[in-house]
Amino acid sequence: MNHFQEYLQPKSIEEALNDLSSATGSVAVIAGGTDLLLELRQGRHPAIERLVDVSGIDSLRDVRVEGDHIYLGAGVTHKEIISNPLLGEHARCVVEGCGLIGGPQVRNVATIGGNVAHALPAGDGTISLLALDTEVQLATAEGTSWEPLIEIFRGPGEVNFDRKKVLIAGFRFRTKDEKEGSAFQRVMRPQGVAIAILNMAAWLKIGPDGEIERTRISCGPAGPKPFRAYQTEKFLAGKKWDDGVYQQAAEILGGEVSLRTSAHRATKEYRHKLLPVLLQKVIEKAIHRANL
């Protein structure tokens, strides 16, 4: 079936933006195609006239240090992420999250930008990036701009920008300092779709007395959009991790998320049960790494 008429492969961001804006009918950006292409071919997504494949744009495939930041191009594949030593050092949670996605065949084509652009509340790549307080680079015909990643999501599968005019070009987050660590963890249902029942990422910095000086925690699906647990983060700041703090943090986290039952995946109650389990795992792993 003709799920699309045109498959364009621009070589530059400008060309891609032009391919998008010049489209007279429906148009969409595609990278690895592991989500969109399948949905199209299975008739679960209305046919799209023009697909603009950005995976051939070299400038989107950069991973580099930029001052006190790491720049991660949107077109970097999961495979490249998990084997990149820079990211292994500075973005452990992202490496962990991306390493759990698919098998090598999927990781070889699926891109981090694609994971984010899909805007699922529980994208493993997205959730792990959020814990690093990542900013997203949006490219338009007028130029590029940086925005906090958390702010581009509008709802499940939806973003706050015009997909015909704006392209996700890359991400940046701070390089890892001494006494900082991050971790990612998820729980899957053995039956059914390969989307996490619940996933979570944490970044933290250990203070001079061994306390959690600052932390960032993200998880999903915990609402219609990828979720940052600001209240829990605030509570944990300055506290030493022990059983009592863990119990209180778990309670605060349980109060600020919005978990729900999804048929054939998980009950709300079960997700609430997993929340403290994941919290303990990611925080303790991150603390361990921060202290290495």
């Binding site: 079936m1 071919r41 090598p104 065949q105 070889n108 039956q191 059914g192």
Partner: protein, 926 residues
């Protein structure tokens, strides 16, 4: 159209392609590189893996335009001439090839792994192959093969066959030998139905009902017919012969016509043949059909109620199956304790890696030739002929290789449609189902509700067993009555029970049909009875192994159907071997006690145990026969011909071994030709673990008869007593001369003896339920222990170890036996932990492979011990009996018993719902 220039296996190609063509299609259909398989078409299974510039990708979801300027390596590009890649060699020698459909994807993915990590650990392999699925469950052997290949590449170590502590005892039978078709399967040369194409071939597509129950009011195909490229659109009116098909009861319409009823969502309304698959599918959208919905019944217990909507006019009860033995009231009176509970098993999907494909073409003489990977070629022939309204001999069914079946390729799916369209158009027509259609259409495993009531003495002796079963056979009978019959007779377990009463209701519903599936009703029964036995053991404070041992069937025991077991009852030996192996692992500690896991405060481990039995063959009065034709070919090879299906189970190997054994031939001098209704006599269905026994016996007696014919011919010619003529190593020693088989053939011809013959094997007689006599001529037995790890907070369950023993009578093909047994175990783990075919109000929820999760390499236990008992059965070939199904059956009950032992939660249903389990564990407060 776009120009695509790329390099495939070192050769440059330039093609005009459409932008929405996937790389797999271009490789398979444009370049003829059919080694790359498409199994799911939805980037879930890994079968279509190829390397793009060295990196593995899924070619079924990779737009071909992306390959521009790139180097593609397919399975065909791995070997260098006749020199196999070490992985290919290792896959053959380590038995890592069963049906072979996933094999190219496994090998290509593994090749990429070895490029990156030349000496991978088990974890590396598991990580790399995590999404490369094998429904035969060959994973343990794949892991061994990858290690062996790595050792060859890194250290030049020779790749050896593994050795086993079972089998042996003969020259060829019982020895470790490679599959005859393994080389084709590892090189991508193997031909499955979709790998075949003919000039001018058309592509068929089928319009499905989409509603579970309704009446077709109007049907308008005129717009579809007008679509350019459409060659035929057919409806029920166009069926010249019989409208209905069916394996036993012909209740399944090939097409549902106006005024007729649709009974499940997958019912076919119309079929289209067009120049391309795309056009055929577009034409389906142009067919206008109005189906008036009717109330649907979707639960077998509801279906039995008086006011239930009727699926068929004859009523919803397909069959009420009864077994009575002794006096059930007396049995419960004699009991000191009585236990009762109800168990549930869901619908399961075979998920064979090769989706269904049929190709039909009309030959010049008017004969219709159908290519299909079928488990019952003769039945396909007969049903196609009946639909076409022609004599049987006007249809020829030819079976290419079959990419897995497990019972799911016994019924008609596209065969009749392809034949109708070929007849209507005069052109070859291929109907290939995608995974979505496969999931919707073919019969599944019966969902059941089984109530078990047991009466026992306090010492654990069974006095009475009463069971009540409901089985959901869905919209059409298929083999439902037989499947539920087997559930019935197996529902009291492999135990001596003096007083038995069983009532089983095989019910029609508006769910997808259910039919044969590995374990064939006995799987469901085993879950119920073995779950119950552990509860009884606990309540009576008897060791669960001891309780089973005490009541186990032995030689001389009488089964619940009154059959006296005369020989080959290896159950107690299976129990003892398994128990000993477990005790060795636990160093004598009670394996059923919950143990902590060091460093994992939330986790507990424990073992669980179960036993089972499974009949070999059709039984219960069904004639169970196979014919084999054997011939000495001009080149001196001997060919055995039987129309029995090789679906990955290793029948070709077994038949080759038997023929070679009896004629003292080297394996390569024996050719096995299967599944061609014009050239091979009927070997009967590949079902009921019967082929090694039935077709094996047919091949054996055919070979013995040929040997006797050779001996009598030569003894006459040379005037020698037959015992002075010796067959050895492919030659015949007579009078100091060594004759080749080619020479023997000529001599036989000269003497007026045909160097070929037909042997018709008839199995020992069985009788229907309710009549005196044996219900089955042999049973296999098994004991299974598994150790599970339960996360008390998340409810996650993992099988850590699996130790099992199976009584197979005789291990004829040890390598195949090991693989099939491990594979059965892994399917059992899947049924317990990952799989569930979900149907809601008659609509299929699990209609993509992404929603139906078969076990991956990740689910392979850390340790597997496969032990074999060889308690021969007198009439089986070399004592052998069935093995195809039994290894899956005891696994789910062993797993749920182990979960109880680990965390104290009993489970009456599978698959294990970790969400529910976590909640129950929390309630238990453990």
């Amino acid at each position: 159209m776009k120009n695509l220039t790329f390099v495939v296996n070192e050769k440059e190609h330039t093609l005009e392609i459409n932008p929405d063509e996937m790389l797999s299609d271009v490789l398979r259909y444009r370049l003829g590189l059919t080694g790359t398989k498409v199994s799911c078409g939805e980037a879930e299974c890994g079968a279509c893996t190829v390397l793009v510039d060295g990196d593995p990708i899924l070619s079924c979801n990779y737009p071909a335009v992306k390959a521009r300027g790139k180097h593609i390596t397919t399975i065909e590009g791995l070997s260098e001439g006749e020199e196999l890649h070490p992985l290919q060699e290792a896959f053959i020698k380590h038995g890592a090839v069963q049906c072979g459909f996933c094999t190219p994807g496994q090998i290509v993915t593994a090749a990429a792994l070895l490029n990156e990590k030349p000496d991978p650990t088990d974890e590396d392999i598991e990580y790399a192959l995590n999404d490369t699925l094998c429904r035969c469950g060959t994973y343990p052997m794949i892991i061994n093969a990858i290690h062996a290949a790595a050792d060859k590449i890194n250290q030049g170590k020779l790749i050896e066959y593994p050795s086993f502590d079972f089998g042996g005892g003969h020259d060829v039978v019982g020895q470790v030998v490679p599959r005859p078709e393994a080389k084709e399967k590892v090189t991508g040369e193997a031909i499955y139905t979709d790998d075949i194409s003919f000039p001018d071939m058309l592509y068929g597509a089928t319009l499905r009902a989409g509603v579970p129950h309704g009446r077709v009011k109007t049907l308008d195909i005129s717009k579809a017919r007008e679509l350019p490229g459409v060659q035929a659109v057919l409806t029920a009116e166009d069926i010249p012969g019989r409208l209905n098909h069916g394996l036993i009861i012909q209740d399944w319409p090939a097409l549902v016509g106006v005024g007729q009823k649709v009974r499940y969502v997958g019912d076919a309304i119309a079929i289209v043949a067009a120049d391309t698959q795309d056009i055929a599918r577009q034409a389906l959208d142009l067919i206008e059909v109005d189906i008036e919905p009717l109330p649907a019944v979707t639960d077998p217990v509801d279906a039995y109620k008086e006011d239930a909507p009727l699926v068929h006019e004859s009523g919803n009860l397909l069959k009420h199956i009864k077994v009575n033995k002794g006096d059930i009231q007396k049995g419960f009176q004699e009991a000191e304790v009585v236990f009762e509970d109800t168990f549930y098993t869901p619908t399961y999907e075979h998920a064979f890696m090769e989706p269904e494909c049929s190709i039909a073409r009309v030959l010049e003489d008017g004969k219709v030739e159908v290519y299909v990977g079928s488990q019952i070629p003769y039945s396909d022939r007969d049903q196609v002929a009946e639909a076409l309204g022609v004599p049987y001999h006007k249809v020829r069914v030819k079976g290419p290789l079959v990419g897995g079946g497990f019972g799911g390729k016994e019924d008609i799916v596209g065969q009749i449609h392809a034949a109708l369209l070929a007849n209507a158009t005069g052109k070859p027509v291929k109907i290939l189902y995608d995974r979505h259609e496969s999931l919707l259409v073919h019969p599944k495993r019966h969902a059941t509700q089984i109530t078990v009531k047991l009466g026992l003495k306090k010492d654990g002796t069974l006095t009475a067993a009463q069971t009540e079963l409901y089985g959901d056979t869905g919209a059409y009978a298929s083999l439902g009555a037989k499947v539920m019959g087997r559930a019935t007779t197996h529902s009291t377990g492999p135990y001596v029970v003096p007083n038995v009463k069983i009532d089983c209701y095989a019910m029609y519903t508006n769910n997808p049909p259910a039919g044969a599936f590995r374990g064939f009703g006995a799987f469901q029964a085993a879950f119920a009875i073995e779950n119950m036995m552990d509860r009884v053991a606990e309540a009576l404070d008897i060791d669960p192994i001891e309780l089973r041992r005490k009541n186990a069937l032995r030689e001389g025991s009488i089964t619940n159907t009154g059959q006296v077991l005369h020989d080959s009852v290896g159950l107690v030996e299976c129990i003892d071997k398994t128990a000993q192996a477990v005790m060795k692992i636990t160093a004598g500690e009670d394996p059923f006690l919950s143990r902590a896991v060091p460093g994992e405060p939330n986790k507990r481990r424990a073992w669980g145990f179960s036993v089972t039995f499974k009949n070999t063959g059709l039984g219960e009065g069904a004639p169970d026969n196979a014919s084999a034709e054997i011939e000495i070919l001009v080149d001196g090879r001997v060919e055995t011909r039987i129309s029995s299906a090789e679906i990955g189970q290793g029948l070709v190997t077994v038949l080759q071994q038997i023929t070679a054994e009896e004629l003292k031939l080297p394996l390569e001098q024996v050719n096995i030709y299967l599944s061609d209704t014009d050239l091979t006599p009927d070997g009967g269905p590949t079902t009921g673990s019967r082929q090694t026994y039935i077709s094996g016996n047919a091949a054996k007696f055919a070979a013995i008869t040929l040997r006797n014919k050779i001996l009598s011919t030569l003894s006459e010619k040379y005037n020698l007593p037959p015992d002075e003529i010796i067959l050895d190593k492919g030659l015949v020693h007579v009078n100091g001369r060594k004759l080749t088989f080619a020479e023997v053939r000529s001599l036989m011809k000269e003497e007026g003896h045909e160097p070929k013959l037909l042997y018709e094997y008839k199995s020992p007689e069985t009788t229907p339920l309710g009549e005196p006599g044996d219900k089955h001529f042999a049973y296999s037995f098994a004991a299974q222990a598994v150790e599970v790890e339960v996360d008390l907070v998340t409810g996650e369950v993992r099988v850590v170890r699996a130790v099992g023993t199976t009584d197979v009578g005789k291990a004829i093909n040890p390598l195949g036996l090991q693989g099939q047994t491990e594979g059965g175990l892994i399917m059992g783990i899947g049924h317990a932990l990952t799989e569930e075919f979900i149907v809601e109000d008659g609509q299929v929820f699990t209609d993509y492979l992404s929603r139906y999760r078969m076990p991956s390499i990740h689910h392979v236990p850390d340790e597997i011990q496969v032990m074999i008992v060889e308690d021969p059965t007198s009439d089986g070939p070399y004592g052998g009996k069935g093995v195809g199904e039994i290894s899956t059956m005891p696994v789910p009950p062993a797993i749920v018993n182990a979960i109880y032992n680990a965390c104290g939660v009993r489970m009456n249903r599978i698959p294990v719902d970790q969400d529910w389990l976590a909640g129950e564990i929390a309630k238990e407060g453990r």
